[in-house]
Structures are given as structure tokens and as C-alpha cells.
Amino acid sequence: MEGLKECVANLVVYLHPSKAKCPNEAILTELSSMLFTYNETFEGVVLAYDPGNCSNLAKILPGIHPYFGVKLTARILLFNPKPDMLLEGEVVKITPHSIHAVVLGFSAAVIADEDIRGEFKYKSKHGKEVYVSKSHKKHKIKVGTILRFVVKSFDEEILHLSGSLLADHSGCARWLDKNSDKWSQADRF
């Protein structure tokens, strides 16, 4: 799946003087506060960090509060979905009008019915809701399926994805992997 990247960041963490006793812990707290929020500087959501090297030198900032800045280099794992990227997520809910999935366990993704290609037909049997492909009966999307979809847009504030299943290479990830010949052929025509 796309949308994940690792990068090395040179950071300066500003700490309150009360944290001077144990700056390491304070640095980790600062870094943790970035987790699961969209960061404009990194252009992505910080998923994980490795604090790496901290410099031993700290610079006291002039100003009313004598905050001090510690330089460090950290490796950071970012999630930055962009339109047309191919993402995967677990389907959590199916309605006649939409498919809902969760990507990486935290980001909600929705595929509205106009973004579901005509091939898929909604069926509800014994309370179990499922989208079945008309051309390949075994290609099904139900709750629990790992869904591969194309990103339409990304709401940076609440990390909400809007996706589409219009492209042939989207759908149930497992079926797509097993039957690559079938959908790639369809692509050719």
C-alpha cells in the first residue's frame, strides 16, 4: 500500500525549564504529542518516531520564559495519503449506499455509492451485507474484507479518507492478488 514514508527530521524541541531535570522524558512527551495528528511541516500524519540522537547542547531562548531548545534528529514514520494513491483498509460496515473501512486502525475511509463501480451489486442475505461483483462471483466485499481503494480526498483534521472503487485494480485485496490475470485482462480491453 502507498501513503507511508519514513523520513529523517532535524528537530528543535523547546522545553520548559521545569523539565530540565529529565529532558529525555520531556522530549518523548513532546514527540508523542505529534502522534496521530496531521503535521503541516511534515505534510503527513506522524505514526511513529525514533528519537535518535539528541544533542547535548541546549540553547536558552531569550524571552520572558527561559525555554530551552534541544536539537535532535529523529526518524519519523509518516502517513500522507494523496489523491490517486492506492490504500488498503479493513471493511467495518456496509450499507446499500456506502462501504466503510478503517485504514491502519485509525483513519476512517468511506466509499460512497457513486464511487463504487457498477460491477458491484449490494446484497443482503440473513442480515449479512455484501457487495458482489457481477462478473466475478467470487469477488466479494463484506465486513472484515481488506479493501484496496483509490484515494479521492483526505480530511486532514479528522483524518477522514474518501475513496473510490471505480478503478479495476481496486476491490477485495485478496481476490485482486489471487486473480491478477482476470482484472488486468479487463484493463486491457
Binding site: 449506499h97 456506502s98 466503510h100 476512517a108 479528522i158 477522514h160
Partner: protein
Amino acid sequence: MGAPEMDEPSFSGSELDYHVKNALKAVIQGDCDFYNQLVAVIHHKERLVAEEVALLVTCLKAVAGAVSCIHIIHHRSLLAGIFGMSLWDYGTDVMDALVELLISLASSSGEFVDLCLETLVINFIPPSSAPYFMELLKQPRGLSKKNQVLDRVHATLGDIRNVVPLSPLRLEKIVRDRMPNIYTKEPFIVMYVENMLRLESGSMGELVGSTMLVSIVDRLIELDVELAWDEILQDDFHKGIFDMELEDLEGHVDYTEQDCNEHTRDALIQRFFSGNLVAEKLDSLMVLTFEHLKSCSESGRLVQVFETLLQSFQKTILTAYKSKFAQFIVFYGCSLDPENCGKMFGSLLVNIFVSSLNPEWRMSAVAYLASYLARSKFVSIPFVATMLDSMVNWCFLYSKNQKQGGDINPKAHKVFYAGCQATMYVLCFRMRQMLALPQLNSQLLFMRIEDILGHSLKPLQVCLPSIVDEFMRLAKANHVFSTPPSFSNDCPLESEHSRAFGGTERLDMFFPFDPCLLRKCDRFIRPNYVYWSMVRSTYDDDDDEEEEGSSDEDDAEVNIENGMSIPHDGSGRSYDEGNFDVDEFNYSLDKMSITPRDSSHKFGGRIQRHMQMPSRIRPSMSPESL
């Protein structure tokens, strides 16, 4: 306007969906006819007849099917209608359709998540525009309505969370922000807190639970500080409630007994509570919290909840100036699991006392610790000894580091004096029990208590005289701890030093777990609470030989049962047994506190022996006191 007529009622479900979608799309092009009808249906609230209800349900379902076409700007009036709907106004059919729509909206786009959550949170309490709900809630019909609404609200929050995993993050902020302030009417704030606690114990508890608890504790403290001592100490209250328990021995109790007989006391409490909405709110919220803690204990997750509670205690309760009742939630938590929670609490307080940076917090912490160790029936005596040992050790090291010959300085050494006072206070309550166990007996004797009390910083002259006095009596009676030569019983009890020690804030007079005055809370606290009378009855002084009270343990048993009965005072037992609980409680109100009234105005008189609660906080150097 009446029910707007929807054309062609013969639409099938999917056709209607299609039409609604088209209508929503048409708005963007400027064609609002059908859309306006839809909005009118949703806005129509009063007295819906069956067909109108059916129409509303159908429309809500159709909109739920078309959420992907809803635009936050173009369809503002529709959204305003939906988010303005209150579950309380409708029957179950509409409720179901509405929550279904909210789930669809929240999962369709990030920008609706907050609005949907907010709508649900608003439904935690009935709309304030319809006050009749509160009356209705007293009837079974109202209660079933409440259950219908709240079950749906909480189930929906869970459903939204399943689809939008980050929604709890938003939810906790919304719940916190929308929490009614302390001036809200009691039933509303109580109901809101009920919902918060339900969230805490629900599936989202792990994520939002701690925020809920912390917010509740914050509210408790806000209510608590709203209750001024002045307010309680009105008129006749001066006589009874805040008389110091320790002073009962001096026969003072007869005086209060006569003056405040049962009847008037009842009336007084009635007046205090009936006029005091804040106290009632605090009482109800505390009871809710107690019940919640109890249910947590039954489901085995008390320790986890208690940890949050402790953090919150450390931040808000401990740092609040002389919190009155809110701290009892921690007390109750400890009583439910003395082995884990009780010990955690004790250790936390010792840590703060020994190593915190802020002297006020340290004094406060040691006051909490002393009061906790003294008042909790469930704390094991060896644990008391361990805690005491830590306190004494710190005080000893402190005094050792001071130059010998250093003089009394109540301000500079206030933490030390607070530690000494706490030690004596705990011993007043626990010395007997400790001496009865051989192992602890020797441990107690090995503590450097004599060293610190005899130090040239002279804690005995600085600490609260009533405690010193009581402690010395006990020590003498049990033949432990020799009195330092510098101290004699005849010296004036309250010296300028002892007033200076507490400073203007008189933290020296702070005993957080003095009997709880709140009526409904009492039944939770009482079974685990040590009243002074229970302790005092376990010994009898030689001085009191003329009194009929006896000192043996059997008597103590009886007195423990009777709670507040006073062994050497006939009236203490003369209560009607049938009304025992009420009487007992009322009586205990009389014995509220060792936390005494401002005694400065009585300085110098013999009456000095009854310490009183500072009804007004005044500087120790006020002219009266000089």
C-alpha cells in the same frame, strides 16, 4: 405550518432515495422546491400525528441514504434541522431513524463528525426548553423515556466509533466542553454526570474514561470551593458543628449537647441543606461517583480507575485550598480496595510530602496522610506504622540537618512542623492499636519521635495545641515517649508560634478527612470511618476516674457500633434506637471537625481549650491575636 405535503405518497423506498438525492443535487443548481419541503418536514416538531411521524421517519431514512450528496454549506438549513432535533421530543421510530442518519452523516465525511457527536452529547440531558421532562422523569413513564433515549445515544456513540476510530478523541473534548457548569440545576448536572460515568464504564472507557473522571473531579472541586466555611458557619452552627472532637473530653460536649438537642439540630441541618443547593449538588454527584467506583470494584477494574483518580487528586484536590468534601471519593476508593488503592494513596502522599518542591503541597499532603491514616478503619496497622515511619524519618533527617540550638521558626520550617503535627495526630488515633501489637510496639519505640519532638525547633510549642495536648496525655497514659524537659503542660497552649506556623492560610488546621457533612454521602463513608469517639473510648484517662465510662475493649466494641456515642456522656446514648441512623448522623454533624474555628478571638481565655474552625481566614498577626 401543517405537515407539508409530499407529492406522490406512493413512492417506493428506492424511488424516494433517488428523489431526495436529486433534490439535494438540485439545490446546488439553485432549485430548492423539493429540498424546502424536506427541510420543512424535518423542522416540523409540534404534535405530530401518525402520518406525520411516518413521513418524518421516511424522510430521515431517505436522507440517510443520500448523505454522500449533502454539502455542509449548500444544505445548511437541512443540517441545522437534523442537528437541532432532540431525541427526547420523539417516539422510538423517529429516534431510530435519527440516530441511523447521524451515524451515516458522521461516517460520510470528516466535517460532520463533530456535529453529530455534539448532537448526541446534547441529548445526554432533556432539552432545557422543555422543563416538564424533569417532572416526567419522576414517573415510570419518564424513566422509560430516559432509558430509550440514553440507550440509543450511547449505542450510537459506539457505532460511530466503530466506523470513525478517532471519534472518541473528539468526543472527550465535546463532553468536557459541554459539561454543565456548577450553577446548572441539580437534576441536569446529575444526569449529565451519569452519562459521563456510563461512557467511562462503556466500550469507549479505555479511551475517554480518564477525561471523564478528571472532569468530574474538577466539577466536584468547583462545587466544593463554592461552599464557603462562612456559609456553613451561620448562627447556631457556631455552637455545634465544628466543635473539636478532641475536646469532648473536657466535658465540653455536655454544653453542646444541651444547647443543640436533637430537634434543633435536625432543623438546623435541614435549613443548611435546604438553602444550600451547592451542597446538595455536591452530595448527589459524590454519591454517583461512589456508586460508580463500587461498580468498578465489582467488575474488577477499580485499580485502573483509581490510578486516574489519584492523578486527578494530585492535580486538583490536593492543590485546592482546604478542600472540604471532594476528597472523600479517594477515601471511598481506598476503602473498596485497601490492599492496592489504599496503599497507593498512602505512598503517593508520603512521596509528595518527602520530595515535592512546593511546601504548601507538602503540608497539604502530610495533612491528608495523617487524616487518612487516622480516619480509615480499613487501613492495616502495620501499614500505618510504615507510613508513620517514613514521616518520622523525614522529620528526623530534617531536624538533624538543622543546627542544634536553632530556634523556633514556624515559617521557615513549616513543612517540618506539619510533619510533626501529622505524626502526633496519627498517634492520637492509632497509638493504642500499635502498642497492642508487640512487633509494632517495638517499631514505634524505635522511631525517632522523641528526638524530633525534643529538638530545639520545639515542635511541641508550634503544633496545634489541642493535638499536642492530646498526644501528651496519651503518651503519659501509655508510658511511652518521655516529655521533653522544655515542655510542660502548663505552658500556654496556643502560642504565637502555633499561630504563625499555619500562616495566614492556617494549613496547620487542615484535617481533610474530618467527618463528612454531606447527608447522602454519609452511608458510603460511615462503615469505614473512625470517629474520634470510637478511639477515645478505647482508653480512659486516670484523670477521668470520676466519669463512669470504662476503658476496656468490650466497651470499645459497643461504641464502635454506636458510632458516635460518647462513653462518659449519658446523652450520647440516649437516642431513640429506632431513629438511630438519622440521630447518629446528626450527632456526628456536631462532631464535624477537629478542623477548628478561628480561635484568635478567644486567645488568652480559658475557653481556648475548645479549638474552633476558622470561620474567617485572617492573618495570624491580626491585632486581636496580639
